[in-house]
Amino acid sequence: MTASDPSVLLQVEDLRVWFDTPTEVVRAVDGMNLTIRRGETVCLVGESGCGKSVTGLALMRLIDPPGRIQEGSRITFEGNDLLGLSEKQMERIRGNDIAMVFQEPMSSLNPVQTVGAQIVEAVRLHQDVSRKAARAQAEEALALVGMPSPKERMGNYPHEMSGGMRQRVVIAMAIVCRPKLLIADEPTTALDVTVQAQIMELLERLQDEFGMSLLHITHDLGVVAETADRVAVAYGGRVVEEGSAAEIYGHPQHPYTEALLRSIPVLGMTHTQHPLSVIRGMVPGGAHWPSGCRFAPRCDYSFDLCAEYPPMVDLSSGQSAACWLCESGPRSLTTLPTAGLADV
């Protein structure tokens, strides 16, 4: 697939974001590759330290010093090189073509401005419309995100709203200009489960209505399974496995993905009958990536070849994994614990 493929909205190639601290260089993102097609939901999943959040920020060019996107990284949006744009050109894209939603709605919202004013601001930054027209759009956006009594809500301040409502406001601000790509960085992690379900349903609905692509960055494997078209598993600043949700959950190829799936408790599992498997060791942190395969020190299957970093191997279906074990074809695994759950 080349960048000129019209179905590809965003292409990330060899993205490196390094942070220069007084004592060391932290290579948070170190060779990230990602493809997002129009209308699809891509979940970038991984634990802390894998570089997923920094990737999201890099796509919006929101990396501040001491962080820096390194030479050789390529981000192409609709065929255009995003990294070559001037700051002014980038401002026209942010909030307009690409929008972002974060984990903590309270820190994305200005506490001394009404919610309505903030959405209006988002509109007027990108569209040359009257204040009245902007307010109309803002109200429409609130209605779209399922806010009850949107007109009254326009005058509320963030602290007068619950966490779920605030997240809706943030989403409203993000989609008011109908962006082509929405980047959501852990949008539901700070919310309670029942509210989380509401927000996820909302995001799905918005996508269907606008044909919007969604890059969903999260650590929650349950959320990923429910929302993703394609899944990219990140470890050590890179993508180690990629595939459709069915592929990743049904037959994960990379040992890290497999280990993750075996280590999460799933509804219905008990510790007496299904002991959780444990990934030994810890993530070494972006300043100390081991040479060779970055997961090898913690991997149950590592062997001598792992001293050299494995390339991404394309497996038959569209799934790919960066592991030497996959070189000669897909691995077969013993049953995963998720096999105990009823199918829909």
Binding site: V193, T194, Q198, L276, A342
Partner: protein, 331 residues
């Protein structure tokens, strides 16, 4: 006596806002009448979302928070009536591990001081003995005794959590309250700590009160599970029963809302509205404003927590009815 902990009619109310002359302040009813027993050797899980009161209940059971009403009985003693000296002794028997691995450890103390603090407070053993006990306990947690001189900032979240567990267990308590012990940890570390807790329970002969918001985690480790909503228990049952056959509509909604790591499953039963505030709960059944099954009786009469099936209690006039969209999911 097989009941180790008995919570009887416990309420905890907090007045809200500044004191005003001549007017009573509104009350935040964090816990509003809870009866609970935890049997010796069991793990009782407590789940609920923000504002349900599970943390407050846990702290009250520990004696860290004084209940506005009601009593706590531990091993046959009325904890609410203990003298200061007796209370200090009581502390050796009930311990707690916290959610935040960073904030629950004093950053200025070394690991040895932290883990050994309980022993020092109760004057157990001399310095050398304490050193030995701490070293043993750290090893038991999978940490090398050589780290005893280091400070919390040098450890990862999972390691800090283990230090916290070591601290709690060094006093050889009978009962451990785990207040969201894995919520702040990475997924791959969660399993380490959960496995550790299961092992320790066997090895140290413990009884757990396991508080969490993650139903999968709670279900994994608990024998029985209690579901809380707005300060009250709405359902309580053995784990398998609760998950296979949730009687209360809120439990059904909770189970339905949890994202499952199986592609293609979608949350079907979605509740309307937001989590209500514990200040001024609705009349009658507190869940009725969000409940798809609500009828007139729900506003007039608060449903009591009653045994509906063997060992399975629920507080609902329509317990057992399925809410729209809920599907059984455990084979």
């Amino acid at each position: 006596m097989s009941d180790l902990l008995r919570v009887v009619g416990v309420k905890k109310y907090y007045p809200v806002g500044r004191p005003r002359l001549g007017r009573r302040r509104p009350l935040l009813k964090a816990v509003d009448g809870v009866d609970l027993t935890v049997r010796r050797g069991e793990t009782l899980g407590m789940v609920g979302e923000t504002g349900c009161g599970k943390s407050t209940l846990g702290r009250t059971a520990l004696g860290l928070v004084e209940p506005t009403d009601g009593e706590i009985w531990f091993d046959g003693k009325n904890v609410s009536r203990l003298s200061r000296a007796q209370l200090k002794d009581h502390r050796k028997e009930v311990q707690v591990i916290f959610q935040d691995p960073m904030g629950s450890l004093d950053p200025r103390m070394t690991v040895e001081q932290l883990v050994g603090e309980g022993l020092a407070i109760h004057g157990i053993g001399d310095r050398a003995e304490r050193h030995r006990v701490v070293a043993d306990m750290l090893e038991r947690m999978g940490l090398s005794p050589s780290v005893m001189g280091r400070r919390p900032a040098e450890f990862s979240g999972g390691q800090r959590q283990r230090i916290g567990i070591a601290r709690a267990l060094v006093l050889r308590p009978k009962f451990l309250v785990a207040d969201e012990p894995v919520s702040a940890l990475d997924v791959s570390i969660q399993s380490q700590v959960l496995n550790l807790l299961a092992e320790l329970k066997r090895d140290f002969d413990l009884t757990y009160l396991f508080i969490a918001h993650d139903l999968a985690v709670v279900g994994y480790i608990s024998d029985r599970v209690a579901v809380m909503y707005l300060g009250k228990i709405v359902e309580i049952a053995p784990t398998a029963d609760l998950y296979k056959n949730p009687l209360h509509p809120y439990t059904q909604a909770l189970l339905s809302a949890i994202p499952k790591p199986v592609p293609g499953q979608r949350a079907r039963a979605i509740l309307k509205g937001d989590l209500p505030s514990p200040i001024d709960p609705p009349s009658g059944c507190r869940f009725r404003l969000r409940c798809p099954l609500a009828q007139r009786i729900c506003a007039e009469l608060e449903p009591p927590l009653q045994e509906k099936e063997n060992g399975h209690l629920a507080a609902c006039h329509f317990a057992g009815e399925r809410i729209a969209g809920f599907q059984e999911f455990v084979k």
